[in-house]
Amino acid sequence: MQDFSIITDAIHSFLLTYLPGWLTVTVECVLIGVGLLLVYALLALFYIYYERKVCAAFQCRLGPNRVGPWGLLQSFADMFKILIKELIQLNNIDKFLFALAPYLVIIASMLAFAVLPWGNGLQIIDFNIGIFFLIAVSSIGVLGILLAGWSSNNKFTLIGALRSGAQMVSYELSVGLSVITMVCLAGTMSVGGIVDEQSDLWFIFKGHVPAIIAFIIYMIAGTAECNRGPFDLPEAESELTAGYHTEYSGIHFGFFYLAEYLNLFIVSGVASLLFLGGWMPLHIPGWEAFNHIMDFIPSVIWFLGKAFLLSFVIIWFKWTFPRLRIDQMLLLEWKYLLPIGLFNLALMTCVIVFGWHF
């Protein structure tokens, strides 16, 4: 299997030969930061294109097909449009919080990128509480949304923000529970460790019933976490025009927009990490030749492929289902997902204790 740590180690030792240790780390941090920003922007653009094409296919349309070949440059054109748009100054708002909110949202999603298992040896930081860190930083996002709704001094945004607060806080529980369930199976919170644990078999097969239940709960709660249909209540356009970001314009709106798509990627990325082995190729115990062939596919492609596939499912949700009502959404979480999640955790513990997993 290709190991990217060879390349990163080579860069590291190359830099060390010319620079002192502290400067090496600084230079590496800057390089990673620039790389991350680039990947972030490109992924967002890809996702916008991806969703447009997928939903167009669902709706018997062609989707973007004018700018560039197959409309590939459409998202770039839109990005430049949003970059050069005016940031409208509003009166009677809390200017500081209003300006801060989009950055909080985007920082939350960018921090989560740090621990995603991009490929074999291609992870920005791998420490022993990786998945815990991810949950912690992704909940900063709700702060940004609440601030955006509150500081806009608009009744629609306020309702949107409060809805969002109720929704994110509730569904974080289910996300957390299904993550804990899988952490139990892995026996580690380190992202690298979780991937390594799946080198013989992916967790969704290894943990069979409880893992599948956790996967379903995670996908539902994850969809709610990233405010996408059928859980797009905070920005329900037919009810609240655009919810918490009604008053935003230009790149500030763009940040919310980007963060929404990147959250989609993060949710699918984490799902593929926890259930489908992260960057780990599909391995089946006993099928040595098959496993060897699978190893030839680069790990980055495995990870991105799984993430895009799961994103496709979430996009599919959005373009098929109508939106839930706020009370129904909370009912689903507190009366169904949460008890099932708790029960599932107990079930998983039993499975591990008695060694019933594969």
């Binding site: 939903c55 009744k155 098929t320 289902f321 839930l324 706020i326």
Partner: protein
């Protein structure tokens, strides 16, 4: 039926019977409220549906013509109430007897300045709060200097007036609050994705729960009734397709029918068939759009494209024959404007072939969906009594188990010969309103399939005098639009122009009932309910 006639003759000896079976009574204002109560509650009369209130200015007197209908005996009674006071005309309100009365009386007040004693809300309905004069009065001064186009924000009041009659007979004006001072009022509209036009709901909410809704209309009031008074009869037709732009054919049909009846014009069988086919095609197209936009309101965007696919096909058929895809000017006095396009029959057959599969698909994607069910079932329940009291006709009324289809109740054109069912449901909730429309599409298709092979030959338009003058008199007709009963009241003084043309649209009561059925539900339910009622703002504003 004769029992009803006898009873009315006994109670109101002055009653006369007009040509089309409508009983006409003139009642003095002092007895009016009592008489209205009798008309509504008497077991043998049961005039429980207030079709419309036609404000009138007879120059010597101001007054109203109340069109009442009995859902039990299927009989229309027209009651005229007059007042000769032009300075401060007052009549007694019937808002306490019919739920829709309040809204209708506000409309009359807006146009004629007649104050209704006992109406809880005597604000203008369409015109701005500072409008000078009452435009439909014959002595109205339309000098633009009196009512200049405002460059300021429109003044708005949180108070409304009500007039109460004291025991000694004097009338006192009282100011009433619309909202309590502590209410959190959200403006939903006039610019809002889910109000389907420029309609404004001032919504008092408690968290996500709705406490009260105050409907503001008139953002696209164009004064169609006033305009029609200065147009010749053929010219008035062209305003009908600007009301409910999805029922353009049906509305044209309605007005043409009134004028043809008044002028004694007999139209050919071919024209009748073409008109009915066009009506039913627009009904399918309208319901298609309803399903699409309604699902979009609920967040299921994809359905819109599936329904527009069918609607597109219908618009293509219309375009070939009428030359337009919206605001069709096809029905004209004496028949229709031009003959059918050569491939009309084939196109309609192609449509009928694909429609059942499409309806099946809609049901598969949306109707059975558990989220859709949760969003619609039991939301915005409208009882049969309330539907009648608030004059909710059309599919929305039929979903509350009120058989109010004018094609069945007062068959016009060739509808009496056609075999179709009147679709009703008993639940009265948003789901029922949705399902009734789906099934109505099937019924319309049934009508089309009966007619498509039987379009008779003949002339599509009979000869009509170039200058059309109607005899002195008044006429009232009801047709079934896509959203409910569309009434036209026409009063002629013998000239080439109508003396008064009153349009009774189905969408005005639909907007009026929103407050009644949304109280206590969630903000999201307002969208569900509003969508399921399917009002069209240009229709209510006129």
């Amino acid at each position: 039926m004769s029992k009803l006639n006898d009873k009315i003759a006994k109670l109101f000896p002055q009653a006369t019977e007009a040509a089309n079976g409508i009983i006409e009574i003139e009642i003095a204002d002092a007895q009016w409220h009592q008489a209205a109560q009798t008309l509504r509650d008497d077991e043998d009369i049961k005039m429980d549906y207030l079709v419309t209130i036609v404000g009138m200015d007879w120059t010597d007197a101001l007054g109203c013509v109340y069109y009442l209908m009995s859902t039990k005996y299927n009989q229309i009674v027209a009651v005229t109430v007059k007042t000769s006071d032009r300075e401060k005309p007052m009549l007694h309100s019937v808002a306490d007897l019919w739920g829709v009365g309040c809204l209708y009386e506000r409309e009359v007040y807006d146009f004629f300045g007649i104050i209704f004693i006992g109406n809880p809300d005597m604000r203008r309905l369409f015109l701005s709060i500072d409008w000078k004069g009452f435009p439909l009065r014959k002595d109205y001064d339309d000098d633009p200097a009196l009512n200049p186009v405002s460059t300021e924000n429109e003044r708005q009041s949180d108070f409304t007036d009500t007039y109460i009659e004291l025991p000694d007979g004097t009338v006192e004006k009282k100011e009433v609050e619309v909202f309590h001072p502590g209410d959190f009022v959200v403006n939903i509209g006039p610019q809002h994705p889910a109000t389907h036009g420029v309609l404004r709901f001032r919504t008092a909410v408690d968290g996500e729960t709705i406490k009260k809704i105050d409907v503001y209309m008139g953002y696209i009031h164009r004064g169609v009734e006033k305009l029609c008074e200065s147009l010749t009869y053929p010219q008035t037709l062209h305003y009908m397709d600007r009301l409910d732009y999805f029922s353009a054919h049906n509305y044209h049909h309605g007005l043409c029918m009134v004028i043809e009846k008044a002028a004694g014009i007999e139209i050919s069988r071919r024209a009748q068939v073409i008109r009915v086919m066009m009506d039913e095609l627009s009904r399918i197209a309208s319901h298609c759009l309803f399903i699409g936009t309604y699902c979009m309101d609920l967040g299921a965007t994809t359905m819109l494209f599936y329904t527009l696919r069918v609607r597109e096909q219908i618009l293509d058929i219309m375009e070939k024959t009428c030359g337009a895809r919206m605001t069709f000017n096809y029905d004209c006095i004496g028949g229709v404007m031009q003959d059918l396009a050569p491939d009309f029959v084939d196109d309609v057959k192609a449509l009928l072939a694909v429609l059942p599969a499409n309806i099946k698909e809609y049901n598969k994607i949306f109707t059975g969906n558990v989220i859709a069910k949760n969003r619609m079932e039991g939301v915005g329940v409208l009882s049969r009594e309330d539907a009648i009291s608030y004059a909710i006709t059309g599919p929305s009324g039929r979903a509350s188990d009120w058989a109010c289809d004018m094609r069945k109740l007062r068959p016009y054109s060739i509808y009496s010969e056609l075999d179709f069912e009147e679709v009703t449901a008993t639940e009265g909730d948003s789901m029922a309103r949705f399902k009734v429309r789906l099934r109505e599409m099937e019924e319309s298709a049934k009508i089309l399939s009966q007619l498509v092979d039987n379009i008779p030959d003949g002339e599509y338009c009979v000869k009509v005098p170039k200058v059309l003058k109607l005899p002195v008199g008044h006429w009232f007709e009801l047709v079934e639009g896509c959203r409910g009963a569309f009434g036209v009241y026409l009063e002629s003084d013998g000239s080439t122009k109508p003396y008064r043309l009153k349009i009774a649209p189905p969408c005005l009561p639909l907007a009026g009932v929103v407050d009644h059925i949304t109280r206590g539900s969630k903000i999201a339910d307002l969208i569900t309910i509003g969508g399921s009622l399917d009002y069209i703002v240009p229709d209510m504003d006129r």
